[in-house]
Symmetry: C2
Subunit: 433 residues, 2 copies
């Protein structure tokens, strides 16, 4: 049995039930914040020696020389040769599709010249050096390496520096293979807040980067938050979630498994199904009960579904879309007939998976779009990780002497209105002489 919450939009108090369901404990732990603050300070002031101490302590690594934290290209090649050929082919296939999709996101510089010779434009430049955090141990996901590294390389980032903790010296060879396939430039076996500090401030061994991306635990997240501004960071991810909208015509086992696929990540993951067909919701509940024991991670799935999952009866698919917009889900499956008709109704979602054959797992690995998506309703204001996260813009302004005569007068008027006389004078010099 799985006691998954069953709700209906017709229930009195549905709005509150939904709000409670979506609430995430996002409070930052003060103790974590303090510990991280101290680690960052130490890395900033003592560099490599602090980095070695923390790595010995937290990752139980017997380091005698600092250069032992770098994985050599030879070690990467050894890992590549050791892994299963089917796995390697699958990684390469996925990498190709991810690359092809992201190539469509590349922004191009432009310039426009006006009649009087004034030119305005926007110059696009890749970030020079980027740090990629990859969690170690069991949660080391090669797919995550591809999804973070490939957009950076498509953007033109020259130096992509990966860090990954190797507790007790273990490093997942698939992670190294994914790094090789996605052209990561350097790999260091460091992790935690100390790795984030090393990337943000630079040490003798670790080059200072311009931006840090990639998932991590609470310490890594707190460290990223604290170095934000010194370097760029991607979003700080909350628990992963899926919202499935189904018209009741998909195989209920498929839908149950899609809900499982999110729930198996961790106990905080969230799986919600919206359907206008009450009978179908019962069938999915039966599939869940029927299938859960066959899953290796059934304990995690059960806890996640019971704590944070829900099967919700809606009036119709239009209402389902309204609720989807309230939730602004990370992943939205439209497992319905003619799914494309609903695209216009969805304003907020990280990714939309259209049609019965498009389960989230295809997008997680190999469809092409990024699997790093805004969680916890942040799709209201943020986007999937993309090439645009690794490119930046510079405004170009070249005012002709004729243009300066016109723009200078306007600027001088506005500057004087703001009490900024040097601005006004700087502008008026350009047309008075």
């Amino acid at each position: 049995m799985v006691n998954i919450r069953q709700l209906s939009t017709a229930d009195a108090g549905f709005e509150q039930s939904l709000a409670d369901l979506l609430a995430v404990e996002s409070a930052q732990d003060d103790e974590v914040t303090q510990v991280v603050h101290q680690i960052l300070d130490n890395i900033k002031s003592r560099g490599d020696s602090a980095l070695m101490e923390y790595t010995r302590q937290f990752d139980r690594l017997e380091l005698t020389r600092i250069d032992q934290i770098e994985i050599s290209p030879e070690q990467v090649q050894t890992a590549l040769q050791a892994i299963d050929s089917e796995a390697l082919a699958a990684l390469e296939f996925a990498a190709t599709r991810i690359r092809q999709y992201h190539e469509k996101q590349v922004a191009i510089s432009w310039q426009h010249t006006e009649a009087d010779g004034t030119m305005l434009g926007q110059k696009i430049t890749p970030l020079a050096r980027v740090g990629l955090y990859v969690p170690g141990g069991k949660a080391a996901y090669p797919s995550s390496v591809l999804m973070n590294a490939i957009p950076a390389k498509v953007a033109g980032v020259k130096e992509l520096v990966m860090v990954t903790p190797t507790p007790g010296g273990y490093c997942n060879p698939l992670v190294l293979a994914a790094a090789a396939i996605s052209e990561v430039d350097r790999i260091f076996t460091i992790g935690g807040a100390q790795a984030i500090g090393a990337l943000a401030y630079g040490t003798t061994t670790i080059p200072r980067v311009d931006k840090i991306v990639g998932p991590g635990n609470a310490y890594v997240a707190a460290a990223k938050r604290q170095v934000f501004g010194t370097v760029g960071i991607d979003m700080i991810a909350g628990p992963s979630e899926i919202l499935v909208i189904c018209d009741g015509q998909t195989d209920p086992d498929w839908i149950a498994m899609d809900l499982f696929s999110q729930a198996e990540h961790d106990e905080q993951a969230q799986s919600i199904l919206l359907c206008p067909d009450a009978t179908f919701l019962e069938r999915v509940a039966a599939s869940i009960a029927n299938l859960i024991e066959t899953m290796p991670r059934h304990e995690v799935i059960r806890t996640s579904l019971q704590n944070r999952g829900a099967l919700i009866h809606v009036r119709d698919l239009q209402e389902a879309c309204t609720i989807a917009n309230q939730i602004a889900p990370e992943h939205l499956e439209l497992s319905v007939e003619n799914p494309e008709q609903w695209i216009a109704s969805i304003e907020h979602a990280g990714a939309i998976f259209l049609g019965r054959h498009t389960c989230e797992a295809l997008g997680d690995y190999c469809a092409g779009p990024n699997h790093v998506l805004p969680t916890s309703g942040t799709a209201r204001f943020s986007s999937p990780l993309g090439v645009y996260d690794f490119q930046k813009r510079t405004s170009l302004i070249q005012v002709s002497s004729e243009g300066a005569a016109q723009l200078g007068r306007i600027a001088a008027t506005l500057a004087r209105g703001e009490g900024l006389e040097a601005h006004a004078r700087s502008a008026s010099y350009r047309y008075e002489q």
Copy 2:
């Protein structure tokens, strides 16, 4: 006399001198952080009543009803009619140019269908509701309203909510005029951390927004940092800076005034000149000495130039570009012959002002590009404020049954490699049946 620092790249220790010059005290004040944390907590838990208390306390406003904090459209119209017609015309002219430039930044949704019927795409949606913070009192800049509001409206943001403190009840009519011209939807006379909290969490009176942009003091900056994640925020700005590269052929008075125009903002602002002609540097120093007493804000300018300014002798213009890339300046003037030849050499800058007639002030007000630019070297990884800050992306994935047969196998292989059996099963259902 102005004791502005004179350096040369030929000096021993130049690198360290430059690093010292650029160092910004960016440490977050722990006391400010704590005070702001408490204000945000109070706004979150007590909403409007806390908001009224803080506004009475900090802005000395005699509020008896909460709806007194909203400025009515009639009040805005009254302000519009009261202001000088030349100032109004200048604001409208600037708004038109800003709008035209930003319209070139609008991103467009796309979809691409593959041979087997699989469709991938990217849907662009504007943010639904955005908060715009506008500082009150003397630093209330109408140009800043235009620069923040217009890109949001060009992006298609439906509801743009402006907040601005009105200490003692004073509100700059030019700020209201700028809000009207740039189609701000609602205006509230609140400020400080309490205004940021109200926008981030929503109160009965203040609608919850999806993103908050705009400059503010240390409390506002700390509040934005703390609500980041609950809502989106723009960059947290440091002191403003200008780097001028001159070949020695521009009128030294022009260059001196360009340096003043940055220095007059505040004592922390930074103005640096790079030039290969030592004689010209002397002439600029003479212009500075000669002109400073004519400036209303000469005390601020003097302090800023003495504390943070520099005239730097370089070997040649190529070296000047190298230094510019190290600095990654907010504003870069290329006051040289054929400035366009150097565009390719500049990798990191917020905006480049090309040619002797293009002083920064033209870009600050009316050239068209945004004046909200990355400060303190953050141009290494961030961009001018733009339409892209008010649009977000949603990935679209529609896999055909044929596509699922191929992608499903790859996904299942990769998922099993990561120990995620529900992902694998969810994918394999799509091709096994």
